[in-house]
Symmetry: C3
Subunit: 302 residues, 3 copies
């Protein structure tokens, strides 16, 4: 039997400059149709929260159709909902999943990084950082119920969780595919990736922008389990029960011990990271290439 530690985990210790929440309103809706008597949905416009207070678990569903792009609004509402649950002692775990069919999240929102001004880019990037910082060191148990495609920023969100379950559908590709668009994953995306699948697999996957099919994702360690599509949520709930059997305090200190070094790397250079992003994204060549990519996407839909 071994022990120790003088580390204290405090969500208050996290930088919290993410203060003003533009027009996001918390809403409560009627009980969900199939949600049992005590279930009450709440959350925001783009982040549905289905709490099961008795179990201490909330299911959080991204609802930003068509592909759950991580727009500034979605990020903002996500952070609000997360903070709300973190501060509510009723809840010990969250299951992250998608309300949009076939897509967990397509990742960062290109329209937030194209044709806007530097101040907007900076604000957007700060929100992306903030979400990662809060998720990666969250005191809650986080489980990703990945019920759709999960590229780039969507993949990152799942990687911050404590456990990942992916639906067994060959169309649900998963990975950090930034290089395919001519851009580069930031170092903290990379650090999170390496912590999950190791250095060599990351080196290859990041350079090639690899998107893994479910069986491959399982083999490389990108997810912990692959299950039939209709069992993703029920599996997540069973797994959650197992994690909740562990005393919170010991689990939280352990999680902090595993991840704090990685988080500190960004915390120490957060402003520089924002400046780098703004200067990179403002380049004519990058703007041009993003515009072309967005045009293509529009034509595809049209």
């Amino acid at each position: 039997m071994a022990l120790a530690v003088g580390i204290r985990v405090s969500s208050r210790a996290l930088p919290r400059p993410w203060a003003l929440l533009q027009g996001a309103t918390i809403r409560r809706t009627e009980p969900a149709a199939g949600g049992g008597d005590s279930a009450r949905r709440f959350g925001t416009q783009r982040v549905l929260v289905e709490p099961d207070a008795a179990a201490g678990v909330a299911v959080m569903k991204f609802k930003n159709p068509p592909v759950n792009s991580l727009s500034l609004e979605l990020l903002t509402e996500f952070i609000i909902s997360l903070e709300k649950l973190e501060n509510d002692k009723t809840f010990r775990g969250i299951i992250l999943t998608s309300d949009c069919p076939r897509v967990f999240s397509a990742g960062l929102d290109l329209t937030e990084m194209c044709g806007k001004n530097p101040a907007h880019y900076a604000e957007y990037w700060k929100a992306v950082q903030e979400l990662w910082l809060r998720l990666y060191l969250s005191n809650l148990v986080l489980i990703a119920a990945i019920n759709g495609a999960c590229p780039a920023g969507g993949c990152l969100i799942s990687l911050t969780c404590d456990y990942r379950i992916l639906a067994d559908n060959p169309k649900y590709l998963m990975g950090l595919n930034e290089t395919l668009l001519g851009i580069v994953a930031p170092f903290w995306f990379k650090d999170t990736f390496v912590n999950t699948i190791g250095h060599r697999a990351s080196e290859q996957a990041l350079q090639l922008g690899l998107l893994f099919r479910p069986a491959e994702a399982l083999q490389v360690g990108l997810v912990d389990q692959v299950v039939p599509e209709d069992q993703v949520l029920s599996t997540a709930l069973s797994v959650m029960a197992r994690w909740m059997a562990i005393p919170d305090h010991a689990r939280q200190l352990t999680k902090n011990m595993m991840r704090k070094t990685t988080v500190d790397r960004l915390v120490k250079q957060r402003d520089t990271d924002i400046q780098n992003f703004v200067s990179f994204i403002s380049r004519d060549s990058i703007q041009k290439s993003l515009q072309m990519y967005l045009e293509k996407l529009k034509q595809k839909k049209g």
Copy 2:
């Protein structure tokens, strides 16, 4: 062909504040019954040493019934025996195993951390640190012949070895299960764990306090080999022969190169680590929970 190095490995360079050895006496006993003519057992009361001087190998058996708890006495005698063998040029390798049936070691001794005074906790923790520091950078080849359950501190000891062989008995669970008791593995337990099975597997296993069955332990990389129970020691001897075919000096320098960074992390903050332990273990809540746990254990036996 490649080479180099200016590193020097010296066991003398290790901090050696572990000086006074409370009443531990080295004893020599008669040759073991089945131990061949030249075999002579020696060691201390709780650490039997069966030397094979011709082979340059000693088998070291923990004998602190019923479960080889790492009491202050056992730790002290372990360190004495280890130092003795390190300083005796006859020996190049040690096989660590248990003299108690069905248990390799149950880990740290809860009675050393419960109902005592801060000075005792500090002394105890220093001994735990000292053992780890000496084992992890030992100049000798260390092989763990794990012939029983191997949780927590028992697991840690095996992880300091160069090679681990586990008996194929589904009851012999192995892992760092601290969180199950509401406590947390110290950072250097964690570092040793990560060095062995990687970041992601450690993150999950440490948070959940996972205890692995032999087949699982092999798959995750916690042990190098699983063999039938009656072949654990013979396998350890064969493996030892292979390690002893390597020139000592080159092997020692290489081991040092692989492990020194991890060891330095504790050496640099050894006193802080002790203070953290003492302050953590002295908390009322922790003392209460340890007392309850010990009560339960007593009732179980009674």
Copy 3:
């Protein structure tokens, strides 16, 4: 979709004290027999370069019979050829392979480290460092087509590549086997090894000086693919096509992000590393052991 970065990758930023190239001359030869119309071989005496300008790929073949020892001349010519291709915008990728049957490269040249003076040892070691520094952060896609035995320094060269393909011949052993000769791999060999196969596998393989058979090399992650001997080069070309589908700039920044920390560790202590090597190799005991080894090799051939 995610991105960022303010890092700039510049080969100019690399230390370039490797200036004078002793008598190495670039030569152009006639088109290779089976090399198609546009193919033109060039390169140096010991490093053949078969460029396919249309594809943007060059095949670089070591030709230092009998075993492609990494003599100072070979290292020098290798660095020249590499720099030439790096500076020629025509080329985006290099396939490294051997012109000598059954051996990719036997590694460092013992005769460069035996019976010479300290200045020579220092010059030699600087060349070894220089090659590693240039290969490991090369802006080009590097693929190793390993068509023969690949121990020690030969293995290191392959580990600097982005992808490794090994011929399926049980005689083609691969690994860092320095300890078998009583010497130790330098820390940057070790770092490259750990980045490829992880900490635990490295710890064991480096201590034991393990040489892996193709199937084992694949399993431990030392190579990415094992193919029939006659398909090594064709496979390398197919793989190269896949890597070249990625925008260069994004791929280069990503590679740099993955490897720069490792490279910086040597850059920061390059001179110390040279001094360590020179002082180690100049020892009487090491010189004696190298001489004996070289004698044995001569007798074997004679």
